[in-house]
Structures are given as structure tokens and as C-alpha cells.
Amino acid sequence: MKTTLKQLAAGAVAALSLGLMAAPALAADTIRIGSFLSVTGPASFLGDPELKTLELYIDKLNEDGGLLGKQVELVHYDDVGDAAKARTFANRLLRQDRVDIIVGGSTTGATMAAVPLIEQAGVPFISLAGAETITTPVKKWVFKTPQSDRQAARRVLIDMKERGITKIGLISGTGGFGASGRNVTKEIAGDMGVEIVADETYNPKDTDVTSQLTRIRGTEGVQAILNFDFGQGPAIVTRNYDQLGIDLPFYQSHGVASDSFLELAGDAANGLRLPASALLVADKLPKSDPQYQVLNRYKNDYEGHYNESVSTFGAYAYDGLQLAIRAIKQAGSTDKAKVRDALESIDGYVGVTGTYRLSADDHMGLDAESFRILEVKDGDWALTQ
């Protein structure tokens, strides 16, 4: 009897602790931008620059007088790369913090877990994750800024065809990005006249993939190797590829488009190609390029403020934020339906990732041309023409 009473007391404490999390006072005069990103955990190389970008530009925006005469407030949670946590935090943003718009979702899993809640709540959401399923079929409230993995695969295969390559070996990570990339590559390769003769995978945490690469090298007729993945895995693949002395043309995906990849992979990266936005070669672009200004401005802002090199992942957040700001300005309020309509009508915003032409049937708005094929030369990125 005694114990159960104590247990009752303990339970009451637990129940009360819920009450402690009372809703924060909603300041009526701010515009609230919500965000959930994978700032720590296995996808932190995405979430970290994304959050830094959002913080930097929202500060700048407030210094310049805010938006519609109001200050802008960023409400951010770290989902640790876990879809279930992302869903919980999305719910918190929608129901407790009552944000006006959400810019976030570093990974496809995190984004898709939050989508049902967001659709129901009717809040505009700009995702920063890659897979095509996010905006195909079109969902009323969901937009995204990165190109789809299908476009990346298509861009790589086009480049291969131009070099006369028709038989390739594919090696991908078993994480979300790698698995999705592997699937779309296999789907479209046939139509594009490229045959995948070897198909290997590795765990994103693996420290050695020489066995898989040896297998690919030993496959008859392989003319090139494509590695579809993000994180540090591709750097290990690249090093093993070099150590084994394989001299086939080597391709990576847009998932490694950052200077930290070059630092990890070192000299082994020389000669590899990948599709990426032009950010990594911003200073090498002709001044006439329509993206020249926006690219260099973002690069200088970010590198000047954080003293670390930019990545194309942070740029997804930059574009997401700029789209949100534009839409709110155009709507003249934070009325959710108006902002959503305004987003859909953005046609020709020149961003860092590409030029966005959104519409009612395209909630991503980039074409495969926004990818440029880069090649690593002497440890630096270079444009191929």
C-alpha cells in the first residue's frame, strides 16, 4: 500500500512535468520561421551548415529592418537525423510554437515523417532534402530547394554518354541518400542507354570498401564507376579507388559537393567528376553568368562570418530562406494560404543552387541544367565544358 502511494506521487511528478512545458508567450509582432535540422548525428554535415546559414541571414535580415516591418525569429530544433524525432519537433513547431513557415528537414526520412502533419496543419514548408518523392506527386504545402537525385543521376549519365561510356559499375551507401540514388540510377540507366554491370553497396560507417571495388574492377566490361552517397563514405571510396590503382573514369554525386570532401579524400580525388551547383567554382565563373553575384555574395558572407568553407548544403537553406522571404513579401502578410500561393508563383528567382521556376505542378522548380559537371583538378574544383 505504501509503495503504491509513493508510486502515485512519482507518477504525478511525471504528469506535472508536462505542464512545465507551457507554450512560450507568442510575441505578436514577430514573424516566426520554424526549422528542424539534423545539426548533430550522422547527417550533421548537412544540418550544421544549414542552421548556420539560417542564423546568419535571419540576423542580417533583422539588422536591415526585418520583414514587413517586423522582426524575424528563428525557432529551431535538432532532430539528430532521426525521423521520429523530426516528426515530434515538426509537431512542436506547428502546434506549440505556431510558426508561420517551416524551412528545414535535412534528410528525406525526416522530411517525409513530418509531411503528413504539415499538410494537415496547412503551414508552408520548404524542405532541404533530396529525394524526388518529397514533391512528386505535388503536395499542397510542401516545397523543396535541392535538385532531385534523379536529376543528378541523369546529369551524370549524360556526361558519361558524351564520353562514350555505356557500361558502369555502381557503388552506393545503404543510407537513405545512397539507397535512393542507387534506385533512381538503376531506373533511368536503361532508357539512357547505359548498362549497370556491377552494383555494390556499403554501410555509411564502413571504413574499407576495397572488397567491393575489387569486385567491380573484376567485372567484365566496366568502363566507369559511379559512387552515389554523401558523408565521409565517398571519401573512403575515393581513397580506396586510388589505392587500388583503378584508372577508370570515376564519378561522385552532388552529395559530396563540399570542400571538406576534398580535404578528406586528398590527392585521390583528382580527376573525379560530379554534378554540383556552381557554388564550388563561384570565383571561377565568368562575370556574365547570371548566378555570379548571388554565388559570390553567399560564399563571402558565409566564409567571412564562420571562417569555414561553404558547402552546397548550406546553400539549400539559403535558397529556402530567400524563397520564404520573397513569398511573405509578395503575400504582404504571413497568411499561410497567401504565402503558399506566393511560393507557387515564384518564377525566376536566381538562387545559389539554381534558378527557381516554381509552379502549381512543380514545387521544386529547378531543371537538370542547374547542375554543372565539375572535375577535381590539383585538389580543387574546376568546371568542365
Partner: protein, 328 residues
């Protein structure tokens, strides 16, 4: 005899009932309900796991596999085979229970850390299968799940329902369902603990050899409780799948298994109410720590260590004992 038992169980159950009934008063919005629903569902797994770990003294580091098994089986049966959610949930529970029975037979002969290792292995294998078979499971990017429907009535989180003249939101209804399921789970567990099986298990926890000498068929009882705990996890997993509407292989991960065992140990092994508190604490900590951003991991690790060092029996048993000492 029977009446004595009900007397002993009643205060705890009434307390639980009151807490579950009063909790909604503290919920200011749908997000709070969401947390409470998740606490209830996680607590169901913990109550089941506690039967195995706390009472029978057998450690499982792979219980997330059973949870994920229930979730994925429910999702796939409703989506691909036109099962209604309720039969799907039962089929899933039977399937997961049978699986536990099959794998339990060989591995429950193992002792101590080898059993931990074997359950860990099973859990990881399950996670790898779910991750790799993306044609079926949707792979790492996850799988959408249909909303729950009971006897033809859809119970969507997003719906709104008329009940005896009151309007009740889908989330609130879900809370009632989850809280009811937890209550039922606790009631069943308490009955089980008082049954001959429960007594045999406790004898087993003390010393397996002594239990065997006393004529307890330890293998049979261990296997039974292993299957029961797996079914608890499966049902909670099925409910979670329908509730959240989207599942990813994260729920099968080693990290999730560790989270589940942590809840049991933190709340208090062999304390059914303790593990409910454990579930509440472990799910709420991240919500309180959001303001600390980078410090979150350090704080979480420090809290976990501190509680376990200073309260090695877990929160509720330690606190209960302290109160008893003072009263004495």
C-alpha cells in the same frame, strides 16, 4: 485469495487511472497530446520488456526489432494485403510472437552477456533486413502507413469526432486509445506477475540453478516471458505506425533498443509503474534540453550516468525505499 490480490493491485491501478485521466488537463495543445501518446506507447513496450529484464533477469538489447516488426507488419498488411488495421495488428502480434518463440528457443539458453550479444545481433539483423529490402519496406527513406480504423470508423489524428454531444479531436481520441492500451498492458502485466509464471520468473531471477533444483522448468518460463514481451512490443509498434502515419528503419535500430532498455533500468527494474515514469522521463528530456542545443548530448549522458550511479535500482524503487525508511 483472489480478493486479497485485487486489493493489493487496486491502489496502483487506480492511481494510474487517475493520472492518465488527469494528464489531458495539463495538455495545452496537440503537441502535448502527441508527447503523451508517445509516452503511453513507449511505456507499453517498457512494461513488457520489464517482465523479461526486471522480473526474469534476462537482458534483451534487441527489443526494437519486435517493435519495428509490429509496425512494419501492420503497415504492409494494411497497405498490400487489404487487411483492416485491427486484424493486421493481431496478425502482426501473432507473427512477431511466433518469431520470438522460434529465435527464443536457442538463444535463451545463453547466459548473461552472451544473451545480450545474441539479442543485439537479432535486433541488428532485423534492422538491416528492413533497411535493405526497400522494394517491400520502402528502405531507409521510410514507409507511409494508413490511419487506424476500428470497425469501419477511421480514427485519423487529423479528424474531429462527435461523442455524446462533445467534439473531440483525433489527437485526443488517440490519447484515450493509447492511455487505455497502457492501462490494459499494466493490468495484464500485474496479473502475470502474480501468476505462477510470475513467481517462477522471480525465482529464476534470484538464481537459475536454485530455481531448477526447486523443480521450475526455467527454459519454458523464460521462453514464455520472452514471447510475451515481444508481443507487447509488437502491439505498441503497430499502434505507433498507425498513429504517426510514417515509419522509418530508425525504429528498428540498435539505438532504439538501447533507449528501451535504458527506460526500464532508469525507471526501475521490476517496477511496473517505475518503467512508465522511465518512459516519460526519457521522452521528455530531449524536449527540455532543446534550449541547450550543442550541450544536449553531454547533459543527457551526464543525467543518465548520475541517475544510475546514485540510484542503481532505478528511480521509483530507490525513491520508494527512501520514503519507507523515513516512515519507519
Amino acid at each position: 485469495m483472489a480478493t486479497v490480490k485485487t486489493h493489493r493491485k487496486a491502489p496502483g491501478l487506480i492511481a494510474l487511472f487517475v493520472i492518465l485521466a488527469v494528464a489531458p488537463l495539463l495538455a495545452a495543445n496537440a503537441f502535448h497530446y502527441d508527447l503523451m501518446i508517445k509516452i503511453c506507447l513507449t511505456a507499453i513496450v517498457a512494461v513488457g520488456l520489464n517482465l523479461l529484464v526486471g522480473y526474469a533477469g534476462q537482458v534483451s538489447l534487441g527489443h526494437a526489432a519486435f517493435y519495428a516488426g509490429g509496425a512494419y507488419a501492420s503497415a504492409l498488411l494494411t497497405q498490400n494485403y487489404e487487411f483492416a488495421p485491427l486484424p493486421a495488428m493481431l496478425t502482426a502480434a501473432v507473427a512477431v510472437g511466433s518469431l520470438a518463440w522460434l529465435v527464443g528457443r536457442p538463444i535463451l539458453h545463453l547466459k548473461g552477456h552472451y544473451l545480450s550479444m545474441a539479442t543485439l545481433g537479432l535486433g541488428v539483423i532485423a534492422a538491416i533486413v528492413i533497411n535493405n529490402e526497400d522494394q517491400i519496406t520502402g528502405g531507409p527513406d521510410g514507409l507511409p502507413v494508413a490511419p487506424l480504423s476500428l470497425f469501419g470508423h477511421e480514427l485519423s489524428v487529423f479528424g474531429s469526432y462527435e461523442w455524446f454531444g462533445m467534439t473531440i479531436t483525433g489527437t485526443q481520441l488517440w490519447y484515450l486509445l493509447a492511455a487505455g492500451a497502457l492501462f490494459l498492458a499494466v493490468w495484464l502485466a500485474l496479473n502475470l506477475i502474480d501468476s505462477p509464471l510470475g513467481r517462477a520468473l522471480r525465482a529464476l531471477h534470484g538464481s537459475e540453478i536454485a530455481a531448477q533444483v526447486a523443480g521450475v522448468d526455467t527454459a519454458k518460463y523464460k521462453l514464455r516471458v520472452f514471447v510475451i514481451s515481444a508481443v507487447y512490443a509488437s502491439v505498441a509498434g503497430s499502434l505507433y505506425a498507425h498513429y504517426s502515419g510514417f515509419i522509418t528503419p530508425d525504429i528498428a535500430s540498435f539505438g532504439h533498443s538501447i533507449e528501451l532498455i535504458t527506460i526500464v533500468v532508469l525507471g526501475g527494474m521490476a517496477s511496473t509503474y517505475g518503467v512508465i515514469l522511465g518512459a516519460a522521463i526519457l521522452l521528455l528530456i530531449p524536449q527540455f534540453l532543446t534550449g541547450f542545443q550543442e550541450l544536449e548530448m553531454v547533459l543527457f549522458g551526464a543525467i543518465l550516468m548520475a541517475v544510475m550511479i546514485f540510484m542503481p535500482r532505478g528511480l521509483v524503487p530507490t525513491i520508494a525505499r527512501r520514503f519507507q525508511k523515513e516512515a519507519a
